[in-house]
Symmetry: C2
Subunit: 707 residues, 2 copies
């Protein structure tokens, strides 16, 4: 467990030296000083400026060395070349933390990266924590601390919201704060990490997740540099049931290319991020709007316990739209019970009662009708959440006040209920509904998506993380090993995944022996540790009659040797053709940043062309493996689709679990592993690995990584 | 071509009788009268109220009959039971149009539907056009006409925007107008069609499409009742290159169920709507926000000629996001040429030049830099559109004015360019950029989606609609016909789609003859007009050796006869097993509302489970068929994926064209047709229909439909 006070020198400093403080408040060094002064910082501020004895009304000091006391934190608004000497001065004085705005480091190439690493070394030796360089700094309104020259200061001064932001982009972090203000959302703690010479995304997230002043954590990610601190922060959030909403860019190939040229960091594969977020229950937003909608909804603190949605409107057309949006989000618009329908019909005789519930224009004549219907819906216990579309009547004279009052009362009567509301009314009316506890988003699609996101959180928090069970029973492999198909299958057998009976034939005699032992149509494949893609070199023959096998084997040995004269050829693998069952793919990829994931999909083109694949962080437990299997769109094929037999999903899940544990035990050595196909046979009959490829890192790389 | 003045009595009336006019402006009849008075209606207004001689300062009349002149239009704010006599009075006076707000008709069940159809008959006989019942009426600011009691009146009074709305939901139509005002968009003509006893969606759309006062048409659809007028309106829009943006609900199964219970209309199948929209180039929006974003973007009238997007930012992180969003919308973030990159580098030495282009924080020091970079990008001719993220600096002192001025100048220099812009600034600043021609949407994802929608329009308008070629050469079938597989294949041969050589065997002798003629592994299938799903009753045997065929055929005849004693069995179809090629599905569905569509997908589960299917309105031409083929995600399988041979896409496209023409010629009779599998063989070798099922309507239904 990381030390929760690691970042206090940066985020809760008792005194701050502003190095490069300027009297000109249009300049960066002047702006940063003004912000810290005006935010009501309770500690001492020491402007450092060799040319002046006073800056913005505060006594100034020429250097860090000249200060009468040691400040907790130094803020550097200096050219890149002045940073290292200043950090050295801070280090020797015992300053605990520094914020470096300056650009001109790793983002500018090798020389900058070298300078950056010298700064890191100085700080590490002194135990000083650094934020930046090339960042916009931070603020923490809960400690009246604003260490940034960002133009958002005047917008956020005097607020201390319970939402926290960490962003790898400073410019974007400012945009988020501005956009949030439009929906009444205030970020209380705000951290931009820039080049992350020391403090990275993970530690910044950890601070927010552990802060008792922050209820909802929002993050913007271009690429994680330090896996362990990132995972630790997400695990803490999971344990504390604190919602984390992340916007990770580089979702698409085009975006990933742009990200690679923008950041110096190795970004990791995007689907692996999804697997990480899934494991720890972080919500991934696609857009800033979505990120803020979900943060806003979460800030109200009312989480649904399931996915059953009631829709209430005063216009049937909008109810139909809402039903579409609910389906888009996998929410269930389940029909109201006969008793509830009767209650609704008594309120709105010409309305629709089943769900979507249409209270009709009658609401305009009798505004409290809406709240009475909502009361009935919430009291019924038949739904986990409700969406109300009240529309423009919420702003009309004669209607607005009785409508609002009755809806406020309804919200009070159901203080735990998750209810979103679309009203088309002036901002003060929207704020009144929001203050009553309604999630107010005008666009129905966004309101419903926000509720679906809320439903995601408790489901994820309730799911225990896979235990870090001992992996003593798992076989280990070494870096640089090459595996023939036979060796790969032997290894799989050690983790409990069987392959068909098979023999290695090296000449006519052993071929005849194998063929007569199997007595069925045969599959024949070349065995060589040097050949990964056997069919490319004529090393595969299928459905061979046992009588024809000896001749076919001799021919294969001859042809492959001719094609690849340098390959070590150990013979031909002879096995029975196995009919029936469904061909699947189960694999392991070890992401260079985020570690091993396990993949599952059907054979053929569904994984590659149709992207019908499930990816989870390794290890997975049996429940997780079954969820993976059920999550692909092709799952019906394993589940009796059109009269097919039920496939052995349990055996498949066990194979996934076993592989995922193998991957974790060998994460430093393994690069990838693929069983393709894994034949999944009828329920009770199990699975068979028909082919397997294992790739490992070369031993030098693995060794240098361990250093 | 429909008469363009059909709806003038409703939308451009010279005089209006307000039946049920009230002095109380909080009541419906009072509100509607106030709106018409205050909108500046240039013609005579005749309040009809038997209890008063004056209403709201206007002379009132007791009845329609008592009026001194015949008004163009009557507006009925009356209880349902008073509607029929009033319409009869209007009809006998020669009133040309009526708007009926009253509810209590078809939406309330059979009695209401009966009353509604009597009203229709009266109006039809008199040549009077009706809007409603159960609607919110209409307004046409271009004729100072407001025939609605909707609460939006005070918001839209005095505006006459060049955007038109038709909506099948009155309540929703009001919400759209209010939401549009927030982004500065004004609907000039607004029509709610309600129960559509007479004027439906199609005619209302036609009015807007033909109006020279309307540039952009927006529509909300729950279900089309009259195919022909709807298609005609879309065809006119295509011919006039006028953008049509539609939100159609019931996209999902859940939404479609809600729609079915909400509207009395038969909605048609949702994918068929997509096929109709695709054909005529209408843009389908998913949400109100998207619909209004696209309408707003289209209202600026700057359409891109392709899909190459330049991204310009002053924060690299937002550029990466934008690249993701562009990929989501199939826009290409192509790299800038070396010359352009050099020009950008000269402007912003520390920026990114390739695309996304990052001008860095330097813009804050030199605001016109952004416009200079945009100039270079637009002048290069390397892009079809540009997205600029300027962010919050657009609202900062010292920056806002020089930034705006320089960007206005750039927009003027490139008057045809499509450029979207995200600024985080007060509304007046946003309006200034919008007035300069920038598509101003703050959320990058929405800005980029709106530009992608704009790119869609000219591409669709440039594509000629398939000609209504003579279908004399197409064979006709009759209602109630049943087709055996053999008959179905014979019919397919008539349209040019061949099947393998085949023979019908009825006993041991004919089986032996067939087997010896084919001399290859055989496929054997039962032939019966009464059996559609042959494999379910043991009526299919594959890969049978010719020597074994006679015995196998005898057994099949015996077993099927035992399973289905009443089925007429004509024998067994004996054909060669055909190896190689890729199994596809080509089919026809005839939608009860929107007519025949043609479908294409790969065999197996990709159509049903993975929804990898292309659906187009029939007929399609060769270009359209090739587009269909290329549009599925599995297309690479036909196109040399992983060393596979190229498939005969031309022959496949020709088969699709032929089927689609067959469907149009037999639309009244055919229900569905499926060739599954259609074996698509190597380039130049053609396609083979291996199985086919044709279903027709029963003859009574087809006959009653013709009446």
């Amino acid at each position: 467990m990381p030390d929760p006070h690691q970042l206090d020198a940066l985020l809760r400093p008792k005194s701050v030296a502003m190095v490069g403080a300027s009297a000109d408040v249009t300049r960066i060094g002047g702006r940063a000083l003004r912000h810290l002064k005006e935010v009501g910082f309770p500690g001492e501020i020491y402007p450092i400026n060799p040319a002046r004895s006073e800056v913005q009304g505060l006594r100034a000091w020429p250097t860090i060395e000249s200060l009468p006391v040691v400040p907790d934190c130094a803020v550097l608004t200096l050219p890149a070349e002045a940073v290292l000497p200043t950090i050295e001065a801070c280090a020797s004085r015992g300053v605990k933390g520094a914020v470096i705005f300056s650009a001109g480091f790793a983002e500018m190439g090798a020389a900058g990266a070298e300078l950056q690493s010298r700064i890191r070394n100085v700080a590490r030796k002194a135990g000083m924590r650094l934020l930046g360089p090339n960042c916009l700094g931070l603020y923490n309104m809960h400690a009246n601390t604003f260490l940034s020259f960002s133009g958002i200061f005047d917008d956020v001064k005097g607020t201390a919201g319970r939402i926290g932001l960490v962003s790898q982009s400073g410019g974007y972090a400012g945009e988020v704060v501005k956009s949030a203000l439009d929906i009444g959302l205030h970020f209380g703690t705000w951290i931009t990490t820039g080049n992350e010479v020391d403090v990275g995304l993970g530690e910044a997230l950890q601070f927010l997740v552990e802060s008792d002043e922050i209820d909802v954590v929002v993050g913007y990610i271009e690429g994680v540099r330090d896996r362990d601190s990132f995972i630790a922060a997400l695990a803490t959030a999971h344990a504390r049931r604190k919602p984390v909403i992340l916007l990770k860019v580089g979702r698409t190939e085009q975006g990933a290319m742009a990200a690679a040229s923008h950041t110096a960091s190795l970004a990791g594969s995007d689907p692996v991020y999804d697997a990480v977020f899934e494991r720890y229950g972080a919500y991934r937003a696609r857009t800033t709007e979505e990120m803020l909608d979900v943060a806003y909804a979460a800030s109200l603190g009312r989480y649904p316990r399931g996915r059953r949605l009631a829709i209430l409107t005063n216009s049937g057309g909008i109810g139909v739209q809402a039903a579409d949006f609910a389906a888009d989000e996998d929410l269930v618009v389940s029909p109201a019970s006969p008793a509830l329908q009767q209650a609704i019909a008594a309120l709105a005789p010409h309305g629709a009662t089943e769900n979507p519930i249409d209270l009709t224009g009658q609401v305009a004549n009798d505004p409290p009708l809406f709240a009475r219907a909502l009361d009935a819906v919430l009291a019924s216990g038949e739904f986990d959440m409700a969406y109300c579309n009240v529309g423009l009547i919420a702003g009309l004279p004669f209607i607005r006040d009785p409508l609002l009052t009755s809806m406020q009362d309804a919200a009070n009567r159901h203080a735990q209920a998750t209810v979103a509301l679309s009203v088309t009314a002036p901002p003060d009316m929207v704020a009144a509904y929001s203050n009553a506890g309604y999630i107010c988003v005008r666009e129905p699609a966004r309101a419903i998506a926000a509720m679906a996101a809320l439903a995601h959180f408790p489901a994820a928090w309730d799911r225990a993380l896979p235990g870090t069970t001992a992996l003593n029973d798992v076989p280990r492999i070494s870096a640089g090993s090459a595996f023939s198909e036979k060796e790969a299958k032997a290894l799989l057998l050690q983790v409990g995944i069987v392959s068909p009976a098979e023999y290695v034939a090296t000449d006519r005699d052993s071929a005849m022996a194998a063929a007569s032992a199997i007595e069925a149509p045969l599959a024949i494949k070349i065995v060589s540790p040097d050949i990964l893609h056997k069919s490319d070199v004529g090393g595969v023959a299928l459905w061979i009659h046992p009588d024809d096998a000896p001749e076919r084997i001799e021919r294969m040995l001859r042809e492959v040797a001719a094609a690849l004269p340098d390959a070590r050829i150990e013979g031909c693998l002879v096995s029975p053709m196995v009919a029936g069952g469904i061909e699947c793919i189960v694999g392991i990829n070890v992401d260079p940043v985020l570690g091993p994931v396990v993949l599952f999909g059907l054979g053929g083109v569904t994984v590659e062309l149709l992207k019908d694949v499930a990816t989870r962080l390794a290890p997975v437990d049996l429940t997780g493996a079954i969820e993976m299997i059920r999550s692909i769109r092709s799952f019906p094929l394993l589940n009796g689709y059109r009269g097919r037999p039920l496939a052995d999903v349990t055996a498949l899940a066990e194979a996934i679990v076993a592989l995922s544990r193998f991957a974790v035990a060998n994460a430093g050595v393994l690069t990838s592993l693929e069983i393709n196909p894994l034949l999944v046979r009828e329920q009770g009959i199990g699975v068979l690995a028909l082919d397997a490829v294992i790739e490992t890192r070369d031993s030098e790389a693995a060794a240098s990584d361990r250093q």
